[in-house]
Symmetry: C2
Subunit: 376 residues, 2 copies
């Protein structure tokens, strides 16, 4: 998609052919800074500090982290060290594990001399596959928006509510939740997005509003508290969110607060969809609420807010009283019963064991135990 | 309650015997500034700009606004002008109308020479009545917390989640939602409060955490997105919130986002209580979602955040991209079906027409039409 009018992906190989470029997303929307990653530690740090984020993009950055590690040392031990360092950066999104497993599979049985080039090929493929998956999610989700538009008066806007950022900045391109929105907008469907601010890190205000604005998609930033009221008053036609992990039974782990929006959608008869690239599926997990590890991050993310002052300086201000403790869970789990459908690259899939198993019989996370559970 | 170790109310008569003191609550928790109101316009401005806020406290400040107006001119015309100026400041909380009607009733049929002293007497009574009401709410709510404590192991804390600020800073003293918490804490019950940050104006982080901290009550600030996850994992024993208006059928209008917490409480079997002083009842309204006017405030409250920098300056930073529109609804309505009980000064009342009519047969908002509806 476009940034400052220029077409870009969210991750790229630098002209040297080996180092990796990303945006420092902690600076958005106030600063557009690019970062060059030259070591596996660089990649791990960028993920851990959320300079790069979004489940699919984390996978892509981790894949290149393996490349950078192997470039320094192509041994099994170095591969294992890199895997361990990268997997430890964020516990919740399953794409990270998926991408690292893909990289290990791509290089493990090769002679050391071939490992680096094999790794770079697989990492590039992971990026291209992500773009293709997101584009397919967009194609399959587009009719949902067109169907709402067809029920409205000509020109009346279709209101989509989204939480956090599951746009192109969370993937390599297109986005998951926002791919259908971009396609609808590009086709001339009058779509408008309510972007939840998404405290504590404000990915909705800082990233979703930013990328929609850069692409010219009409949108409105709302506090996370607002969506329920909007739905009670018929101001939201559908909710589309991204996800960090979907379980075999269709439970959806996503940014903290997603569950509250799903409850409100359910209470008001608003369809609640999830943009789901298949690497985000985890057939090894059934009950998302009981089983998915929920990352707890530092309290300073809640206690402070960073933004631009009237005279253009970037400042961080504390908004919580000194001495008041703070808790910061990164994600919550929306039970499958509240989800209308999963928009995958293979079409819209119902959030239940059978439908998911039928749609993805070949999924890498489906070990024998999972196959048994799915057919039970 | 205490502020900087000193017992205080949130509104007082200054030593001159006529001007009115309040805290500038927009400075909390970083600055403790007091303001002296000397004109009706001062009072209206303080309410409009939220230097003073909280449904019961707004009523008290408006009452003194009438006093200050009459002090300048005790005519019927001046009384009407003051009423109009004050009623226009905030549209949602019904206490404002209640207090202004009380003031008009107290002075209308008196000779001009007696109006000022009658007004000051009634305003003082409104404040004292508010303290007595909140204390009674605390007494009636306390057993709810004690009952949870009795089911726990000795010393295990009772977790109360609250949204926005319905503590003593929202009333004259004690608070509504927090009155039972203060009483439990003072009795030695190990109570702990999860305080929703409450974007966009952060009353939870800035005021609830501040006043709980000043009184020594254990608490944790959480983003508004977090409560659902906590309830899914059994980390919340009960929810208690305040309210700006409760309808004849028990619908609860309160700070935007309350509805989302009520949905989560309902979905997880967590009791959801509302601290309700009777001046906040409005028997003239039935369906809260359809009928209560919801205040829309300026977008800058969402687009910016004010806090303290590391070196102690107070700065306002913008967190939304330039050019991204923002919507800012102040309140939402929680339908009665999601409410476990209303903690009033007359005991805990079920959120339905019959129970409310039975508990408050003498309520001033019950005109003949409302009485018919209540007995239907």
């Amino acid at each position: 998609m476009k940034i400052n009018g220029l077409q870009s992906r969210s991750i790229w190989l630098e002209p040297d052919g080996w180092s990796v470029g990303i945006f420092d997303q902690t600076g958005f929307p106030h600063r557009i800074d690019r970062i060059r990653l030259t070591t596996c530690e660089d990649a791990a740090r960028a993920i851990r500090t959320m300079q790069t984020r979004g489940a699919p993009l984390i996978g892509a950055v981790a894949a290149y982290g393996i490349c950078l590690a192997l470039r320094e040392e192509a041994s099994d031990e170095a591969l294992e060290r890199a895997y361990r360092a990268l997997i430890a950066t964020r516990p919740t999104a399953i794409n990270l594990k998926w991408a690292l497993d893909e990289m290990v599979a791509a290089v493990r049985n090769r002679p050391r001399a071939e490992r680096v080039s094999a790794a770079y090929r697989r990492a590039a493929d992971i990026c291209d596959e992500d773009v293709a998956i997101c584009e397919a999610i967009g194609r399959h989700g587009l009719p949902l928006i067109e169907a709402v538009a067809a029920r409205k008066k000509p020109g009346e806007r279709v209101n989509v509510l989204t939480h956090c950022n599951a746009g192109w900045l969370a993937t390599v391109d297109w986005g998951t939740a926002l791919a259908p929105v971009y396609m609808a907008h590009d086709k001339g469907v009058p779509v408008h997005v309510f972007a939840d601010e998404t405290r504590p890190r404000n990915q909705g205000a800082a990233l979703t509003a930013f990328e929609l604005g850069q692409h010219g998609v009409p949108h409105t930033v709302i506090p996370d508290n607002t969506g329920g009221h909007l739905m009670q008053h018929g101001l939201v036609d559908l909710v589309i969110v991204g996800t960090d992990r979907v379980t075999a039974q269709g439970d959806v782990c996503n940014k903290i607060g997603t569950y509250l929006k799903a409850l409100a959608a359910h209470d008001n008869g608003v369809p609640f969809y999830v943009g789901l690239p298949s690497p985000t599926l985890d057939f090894a997990v059934g009950d998302g609420i009981a089983e998915i590890p929920i990352e707890e991050r530092g309290g300073e993310e809640v206690a402070t807010m960073t933004g631009r002052t009237a005279d253009g300086r970037i400042e961080t201000v504390t908004v919580v009283p000194a001495g008041s403790p703070v808790t910061n869970y990164g994600f919550d789990v929306t039970p499958a019963r509240l989800v209308t459908g999963l928009i995958t690259e293979r079409g819209i899939v119902a959030p239940d064991r059978e439908a998911l198993a039928r749609a993805f019989p070949d999924h890498p996370s489906r070990g024998p135990a999972q196959c048994r559970a799915a057919s039970a």
